[in-house]
Point group: C2
Chain length 287, copies 2
């Protein structure tokens, strides 16, 4: 197994760690825009060295785990460099623009568009952990555009990493992921902002914050460099979800103002069914 | 140590469990509006039996852990029943209305207004856990209105439960807790609602939700019976925080629409400092 990790951060680094464990004979090379991350990934044993032309032409799998704006820029060039039998997968949180940018690339059939729904709020090689993907969903888009034997190779690797597979078209992916992921990040960032703004002169006040606050603002620790291009590429869906969220908050506020506490109770009671939905979401083992 | 738990749910039940552990000789009796909860609390060993007149007159501590609307109704009657040397504490998430309702009660000096910042999204006797309060903040209001020796007794118990104490006036408590607790619950409930509404016909979509979504909507599992009266009693502060939150979300949306992605990046970058703030928040041991 010859693997290349393009972007040796949380996702790429965690995949590399699992590959080493599941394919002990694997040689894993890396690329990263950050020299410091590359060195850190080497010193942490995540990659064996820096990927050059030889590694690209011999790669069994190239994992592209970089911000989605960088994917759009780099993916065509990476496809240019690989061998005829190499598989390239990405891990981007958007799918439409990525699929569209390589739609007519001569090596389109070497690419499989993926979105492993896994992660933490941390980033960089030191954030990489083993078994991050165990039990998690991997959404695959436009599977029919990938060469059959490379589909098979990808599925075999995902299966060893413990992932469950869902197939979806890029447009449906981007529309739904705006609700169950992108919106959560905005709600969390803006909650953090609201509290920081209000309490900036009252540092002691955070003594009052409990684990509930911690839970709702956890995602506000996420990397702006990763999330800005996601919101940019999925702007239309994100604006729509955000609009609906704001309308729901505004309606809740109006109920409060109107002393409609029966309505407030019902809103919460109806939403309590989220319990059943959350039961189905696999958790990170160490969280 | 003779203790009475009024409301044998998550908070009261967890306190009872800790009292049993730290004061092995304690006799702990209970009261609950729900017959089923009382029976469950007895069968789980959380309480020894149902509190009657004798237990009230001999109580060293009465812990009132019921919804805040019920506190306002029941607290004066509970103070009527206790002995001259009994301490009554509450655990309500609002403080102004509770402090005001018993301001002129003849047994005002037997009462200590408390808000232990601890909990989970679960409720009822079966949700009670040991050491829920270890390392957590307990906010005490109007300490000067409580008899000195009963202050001492309370502090000694809180110390054995591992709580750190902060003193605050009821108005400041209610204003700040709106930001670091009440707003989080609304943001979480409305996030849950937005996603459930959108995805009601697409059950499979929750396969796409990861641990980030789980984290931001965790509080939407909370009890409407507990939270409706909190929002009612703290309406003014809650409406103000909600208004600021909605304005921040709207400004974020406008930046998206205007393609101001540098602004989007900066918003998130500035909020990343929440990392430092969150470091100071004690976590539940089992989370």
């Amino acid at each position: 197994m010859n693997a290349i990790i393009v972007g040796t951060g949380l996702i790429g680094g965690s995949m590399a760690k699992d590959l080493r464990c599941k394919y002990p004979e694997a040689s894993i090379f890396g690329m990263d825009a950050s020299e410091a991350h590359l060195e850190e990934a080497i010193s942490l044993g995540i990659i064996d060295g820096i990927a050059g032309s030889k590694e690209f032409s011999e790669a069994d799998i190239v994992i592209v785990s970089i911000p989605v704006d960088a994917i759009v820029k780099e993916l065509p060039k990476l496809l240019d460099r690989i061998g005829d039998d190499s598989l390239v997968i990405d891990a981007g949180s958007t799918k439409s623009e990525i699929c569209s940018i390589i739609a007519d690339h001569p090596k389109r059939r070497n690419f499989l568009a993926c979105h492993p729904i896994a992660g933490t709020e941390f980033s960089g090689p030191s954030a990489a952990v083993t078994e991050l993907f165990a039990g998690k969903t991997n959404i695959i888009c436009e599977v029919e555009k990938t060469a059959f034997k490379l589909q098979e190779r990808a599925l075999s690797i995902f299966s060893r990493l413990g992932m469950r597979i869902r197939y979806m078209n890029p447009e449906a992916h981007d529309r739904h992921i705006a609700y169950v992921s992108h919106l959560s990040h905005i709600s969390s960032f803006m909650l953090g902002k609201t509290v920081i703004e209000k309490e900036k002169n009252e540092r002691d006040i955070f003594d009052m914050a409990g684990s509930g606050f911690e839970s709702t603002v956890r995602l506000a620790k996420s990397s702006p460099a990763m999330w800005t291009p996601i919101f940019q590429q999925n702007k239309e869906n994100v604006v729509e979800t955000l609009d609906e969220y704001i309308q729901n908050l505004e309606a809740f506020k109006q109920k409060l103002i109107a002393n409609n506490f029966e309505g407030i109770y019902n809103e919460m009671d109806n939403t309590n069914k989220i319990k059943l939905i959350l039961k189905g979401i696999p958790q990170n083992k160490d969280r």
